[in-house]
Symmetry: none
Subunit: 523 residues, 2 copies
């Protein structure tokens, strides 16, 4: 089976999405996830233009990726510099990677009006830049920026730009539809001409989605020269985004029979997509091809009837191949087997056909409809199972809390919380201040409990996430709070959902503490 | 200029979107909007299967559309019925429209496993159904459901299905990729074969987006037989949605030079798209091609510099052609040029080399380091510029607020907020409850201000996002709150950052209200 190389630029072009601002740690986490999944290339960033990206390359020098090749990105040398003295090129070399990518101009308009240099000078810059990197032992991907617009405006020049890059030692040229305005039949026709004129056998594609055609443009030459596709997870990117690699990988692997990553790993596609959307703090769109929650959801009655008779009636593929699942929107049916498996993981023997299993299943569906997402909150899920299976011991009861935030005339903010708990039959009432209302509540809860359970002083919260569900609800929208906690042996995650951010946080905090107490008791 | 007919099925197939539930009035409103815009055909619904849709057809009998043709949708006759006695077909006739659409089976699998009748019987049903409608004087569109899957499985049979429909008097056959799993090259190849085999000159396309290819598949045969494209506004539809007509119309009119609706009306495309998303209660996606808020938004510094030199550098077309506009998104990656442009938008001439520009740039970098992210908060950014450039008028001063959340013994949650403001020299003190502390604060603020500024009752919050920065800070971590607001003309976004979620929300709320007041004053 022929291999198509997947080149991910979520960390560089994806970071250009309006609304996305990755920290260096976010980028490192995403890179690790991509590596685990097994994409071929990960463009880590533009080290010269962004100090955060430099940090990332330094990190991976010490902690190399397992499968994917990390690639730094940069431009051709600045017109004022000799390639060998260009800081941008030198920073690429210093990343100590096998591959580097540079982009260069192939549209005469850009050369003359943006770079404001002569057409010949630009060709020399391309050539010198590639040559310099190749001489340093790098394999060079040359991104021909605006290649299709360039070819339409001045075909000879666009052709020259890639020819000099190849002659200078570029491993592969990548045709970029930078403005996203090229149509599939144009991509096909232009690529065919190029291949013929310079007997080019292989090339890459880098498309933007300004006409909703990035995926189509990216796959149209697969089978006739395109062996490398650049894009981002979930199609993140400036303006209308880049090619959605999630979709492209689904099509290549399951519709066209190419080898992207092994079928088994493709079952993780939905997790990769959701993970990246979580870290990006972007809503995971229900209608994403292959990985959206609605991608295999049937709502029309006649569709549901037909799918029950034969799934292929209204499904273009088996949803589980990308980790997705069939859903009937009006009447939820699926899921009990999963529940049995999960209970087993937590040492509960649950009979799939028992009333207990049915009730639990119903309860979880109800909670998930309300916005709980147990996939990301195993701690809360375990507590839920224990409560429902009557195997739960309570460590404390909440009688009430009160949280207040006051902004005074002197601009000072005061956050206070008071909690009233019953612990081992005793009433315990405490109050505490904090950095914000949730921290105050957290402090008050621990203050009350640590007296009785000193081990709580050994755990700490390591992550706190708030997600607004149903964002259209404005300030009355429901929120989901996810908390991660840690002690020296374990970490665990807990969840709370409410229209009230304080209440949602309380649920997650209380679960986190209970989980720790339970865990310690079992030892 | 050759005409391509646009057939909108937002009201029928679009209504199958998970999360969309149109009332009859919603459908009537959308139909009127589509008529005003000037699409050729509006599929109003399936009157036989849905009583709501019957109401809609009754309404438009009395209040006919001006430009668009209203079309009812139904199936071929039920196998048990003679066509002339089939209630579903009769209900179509009774809609008193010039055109009707029926779908029929063209995939042998569906005939045998879903309808459970013989292949010949299905052909007879198609023929009888079309003939019956044609004899009643209707122009009939025949949607060949699953046409491509059917052709792949049994080409002769799929061909027969459309042949009998045409022979029975169908005006046009529409090739449906019902499951959305067909690739562009397959659509092209299969359509070419059909045309040749039965000398078909014209046909329509109806695609689904399960592989992200609905738009590409819909336009691929334009120019070689396809004269009619079915789809929905914003691509709504079951699973991954239908062909996005918003995108298709943009491509046909501006990229391919076809006649869709006159150029002047195309400037309303963004309003149509936003209107439908509002009525559908779906978030209007920032990255929609042609009509998304980010579709012509530039974030990368080098892109912004280039676009200032020549717009076409990073824009595939003039944004105003679809009613959209160019935006420069502020971010740590963007430079001083952006600031100058933004100041210009506020009628302030900022010299890029002045101390004022340098100070502003430093301030913004400082705020962005603290977690402010102005790219997603243009409203707050504009207010900031005005404050710094000393062009700001205050509409109110905050003296203080107090927010509290109490969870009582009966498990009841009470959220209350009190605010103290100075407005036009007067002290105003109010309090309100709410669904959660932030909603309570929002309510109290508006209650205090609406007395003085009644226009505030015309704005609403449409989006509320919370992002925890530095998540490792646990419950004491900083949070960033983003709020989007809307009135009938505009939308704007504002931001707040603090370790205290209430304070961060306050900042964003206060900015949102100030922005609205300032905007109204300028008019």
């Amino acid at each position: 089976m022929k291999k198509i190389y997947i080149y991910d630029t979520t960390l560089r072009d994806g970071a250009q999405t309006e609304g996305i601002a990755f920290s260096c740690q976010d980028k490192i986490n995403i890179a690790k996830k991509l590596d685990e999944f097994g994409v071929d290339f990960i463009e880590g960033g533009w080290p010269y233009s962004n100090p955060k990206d430099q940090e990332l390359f330094n990190y991976f020098k010490k902690n190399p990726l397992k499968k994917s090749k990390l690639v730094p990105f940069g431009s051709t040398a600045h017109p004022a510099n000799h390639a060998s003295a260009d800081k941008n090129l030198i920073s690429l070399v210093n990343c100590d990677t096998e591959y580097v990518t540079i982009f260069g101009k192939s549209w005469d308009l850009h050369v003359q009006e943006v770079l404001k240099i002569s057409l010949d000078d630009n060709l020399k810059i391309i050539s010198d830049s590639v040559q310099f990197l190749a001489k340093q032992g790098k394999r060079v991907f040359f991104d021909a920026e605006h290649f299709f617009d360039g070819y339409k405006a001045n075909p000879e020049y666009a052709l020259k730009a890639i020819t000099v890059a190849l002659e200078a030692g570029a491993q592969l040229v990548v045709f970029c539809d930078t403005n996203g305005g090229t149509l599939p039949y144009e991509v096909e026709k232009i690529s065919a001409r190029i291949k013929q004129k310079i007997s080019l056998k292989e090339f890459g594609m880098h498309c933007h989605n300004d006409c909703g055609l990035a995926v189509a443009n990216s796959i149209i030459n697969v089978g006739s020269g395109c062996i490398h596709i650049q894009g981002t997870i979930n199609g993140y990117g400036e303006r209308c985004g880049n090619t959605d690699l999630t979709t492209v990988m689904g099509i290549l692997q399951f519709k066209m029979g190419y080898d992207v990553v092994s079928g088994v790993r493709m079952r993780e596609l939905i997790h990769l997509s959701r993970y990246v959307s979580e870290v990006s703090n972007m809503v995971h769109r229900d209608n994403y091809p292959f990985v959206g929650k609605s991608a295999f959801a049937h709502k029309a009655g006649i569709h549901i009837d037909a799918v029950i008779k034969n799934e292929t009636a209204y499904e273009h593929m088996d949803p589980s191949l990308t980790g997705n699942k069939r859903r009937f929107v009006t009447s939820e049916l699926a899921g009990k087997s999963t529940l049995v498996v999960k209970a087993k993981e937590l040492d509960f023997d649950l009979d799939k056909k028992s009333d207990q299993a049915k009730d639990l299943h119903k309860l979880i569906q109800k909670l998930e409809n309300e916005g709980y997402q147990f996939e990301a909150a195993e701690g809360s899920f375990k507590l839920l199972l224990q409560r429902e299976l009557k195997k739960h011991k309570k460590f404390f009861d909440l009688i009430g809390f009160r949280v207040s935030v006051e902004k005074r005339e002197d601009n000072k903010l005061i956050s206070e919380a008071a909690v009233k708990l019953r612990i081992n039959g005793k009433l315990e009432q405490t109050a505490s201040e904090g950095d914000g209302p949730i921290n105050a509540l957290d402090n008050a809860l621990r203050k009350a409990l640590t007296k009785f359970y000193p081990a709580l002083s050994k755990m700490r919260l390591t992550d706190f996430k708030v997600r607004v569900l149903d964002e259209k609800g404005g300030t009355a929208a429901k929120v989901r709070v996810l908390i991660e906690s840690q002690d020296k042996d374990d970490d665990w995650s807990t969840i709370g959902v409410s229209e009230n951010v304080i209440e949602a946080s309380w649920q997650a905090l209380a679960d986190s503490v209970e989980y720790k107490l339970l865990k310690d008791e079992k030892k």
